[in-house]
Amino acid sequence: MTERCLFVIGASHHRAPLEVRERLALVSEEGLRADLAAVPGLREFAILNTCNRVEFYGVGADAEAAASVQAAYCARQRFSADEFERVRFRMTGRDAALHLFEVASGLDSQLLGENEIFGQVKEAYAAAQSFGSAGAVLNRVFQKAFQAAKHVRTHTGISSGRVSVANVAVELACNIFGSLAGARVLVLGTGEIGEGTARAFRSRGAADLAVAGRRIERAARVASGLGAETLPFDERDARLADYDIIVCSTSAPGAVLGASAIAAAMRRRPARPLLLIDMAVPRDVESAAADLQNVFLYNLDDLAGIAEQNRSAREAEVAHCRAMLAQRADGLWRQLQPHLCSADASAGTPGGDAAGQAASP
């Protein structure tokens, strides 16, 4: 069999700041695909292009194929080769496979353990398959990466808990209501944070949203953007009992929801819990509401605290995940090694890569 070398070359958020990544990002991959298909000796390739990384996985006839890919990319993107050299990383053989495993598992993500990257890697692979640039080696490496990522996400806590304040609020709602399809959400305040949280609720299945703000025009505009109804701000106390989740983010100088109004609302709906998400500073909800039966009140500090706990819990899982993935990468490499070139074999141990390899981020 003809010898081949597995490699990955690219740049990610670890070494490339946002302003560089903006210039690195490929608006369209089609032109570059055609360029890469013409690179001599490049047998297989796949492009992973996200807001945090541009990476090229390839199988070449020799170790120089990676350099050819880099040159083709810089030329197509009109990106300085010297600048790319400063921010790029390159890995070969087993380390390249392990890197893909870690990327697909969310271990290499800016937001540790995030799930979106898994779908992005799948799309990258599907695009390579569609173009016909994924062959026997990349097929195997990507399939194993998907298996490894699923295993890690299922058997460790790397993806457990939410790490953004809005998603923590949604997760709390799920802990109370299960499915959000039947939950009614009222957003008090029309600021960015309230709107963002409302979008997070919408994305998780909340179908019935209403927005109330002190400026009715602004509230109507936000409601329209969310596909929600508008509620006059003055009617909030009277309509409180109609809602299961209330997100408060007004800039009012004092509380806009009193404990007595909430207690009155709960008397009208005693069997259904009420979740109050108070993201305002100063707070919008009187703290005495937390003592009411079936009422769950969370302020901004509470949400931030939970997000931080989840982040720490994920970080505590990293070493365990890396060990699991390394084991799987070793297993894959044992299968692939006989068919790949000797340059890869030397890269089988960390630090064994050729010159130019950046430290694994």
Binding site: T156, C174, P273, Q293
Partner: protein, 282 residues
């Protein structure tokens, strides 16, 4: 080889599988991963089948439903709870409920197997050959199993409620079902338990009304009190007067009271079953 096993050996096997389910869940939780619902469900199912064989052998030997002493009552209650879980657990896809069911199964079976005196003596012919009164007893015990599962769901509700009120939602708490899901499970289990116990008492009443001397006053009072208490709890819950944490605590307290009432049931005597026999069952 298996043909030589006694009913108690089968029941020990069942207890072992319930303990395996408990162990799997505990190890998984301690390692921070989600409990494997399929593995726990499998362990519980295996335990259930072994317990079914053990209780079947016991019932075959005694010629009726095995409810002749405290050991058998505990075993039957555990079996009833597991029966229901095997249906409810699939519906709600709650691995945590499975974990706690394996706790309940292991606790009730190991406890009853570990105290030989509970099974040293058993009353014979406790149903006086009457199939209706046997059905009454079996249904009543089955309802206790349902109430056992209800107590578990209530315990989970209190844990979930505590986690949300105290704002500790990460780690182990993240595997708990939602408050609303648990509340729905509680209401359905309570309704099912009340229905089954009502049917049991109806069968018993038909028998008792023909000869009121057949049932001891203490047993009668204890059984009716348990039934009334559960009916009241159900009525108050439906009316929206007993909710959330208070409802869950009530279900837990009622199950404790129901277990205590088993003493009265256990000590009751059917006139034709007054004699106690040393256990000499296979």
């Amino acid at each position: 080889m298996f043909a030589d096993l006694s009913d108690r050996q089968w029941l020990w096997g069942a207890a072992g599988f319930y303990a395996v389910g408990l162990l799997l869940g505990t190890v998984s939780l301690l390692r921070g991963g989600r409990t494997s619902g399929a593995a726990i469900y499998g362990a519980i199912l295996a335990g259930y089948l072994l317990q079914f064989i053990g209780l079947g052998l016991r019932g075959h030997a005694t010629g009726g439903c095995p409810l002749g002493n405290r050991f058998e009552i505990f075993q039957f209650t555990a079996w009833s709870a597991i029966t229901l879980y095997l249906v409810v657990g699939v519906t709600f896809r709650s691995s945590v409920l499975g974990y706690f069911t394996s706790c309940l199964g292991a606790a009730l079976t190991v406890l009853s197997l570990s105290i030989p005196s509970w099974d040293a003596v058993r009353r014979t012919h406790i149903f006086g050959g009457n199939r209706w009164i046997e059905l009454h007893a079996a249904l009543a015990m089955f309802s206790y199993g349902v109430f056992g599962l209800l107590a578990l769901a209530s315990g989970l509700f209190l844990l979930r409620h505590f986690s949300l009120k105290s704002k500790h939602v990460g780690g182990w708490f993240s595997f708990l079902p939602s408050i609303m899901d648990l509340d729905h499970i509680e209401v359905r289990l309570l309704g099912a338990g009340v229905g089954i116990l009502t049917a049991a008492l109806a069968f018993g009443w038909v028998y008792w009304s023909r000869d009121t001397a057949t049932v001891g006053h203490f047993k009668l009072a204890a059984t009716v009190a348990v039934w009334l208490a559960y009916c009241c709890a159900f009525g108050l819950r439906i009316a929206g007067r007993l909710l959330a944490r208070r409802f869950a605590w009530t279900c837990l307290a009622l199950f404790a009271a129901a277990l205590l009432s088993l003493q009265a049931v256990d000590e009751s005597r059917h006139p034709g079953a007054a004699q106690a026999s040393e256990r000499g069952l296979p």
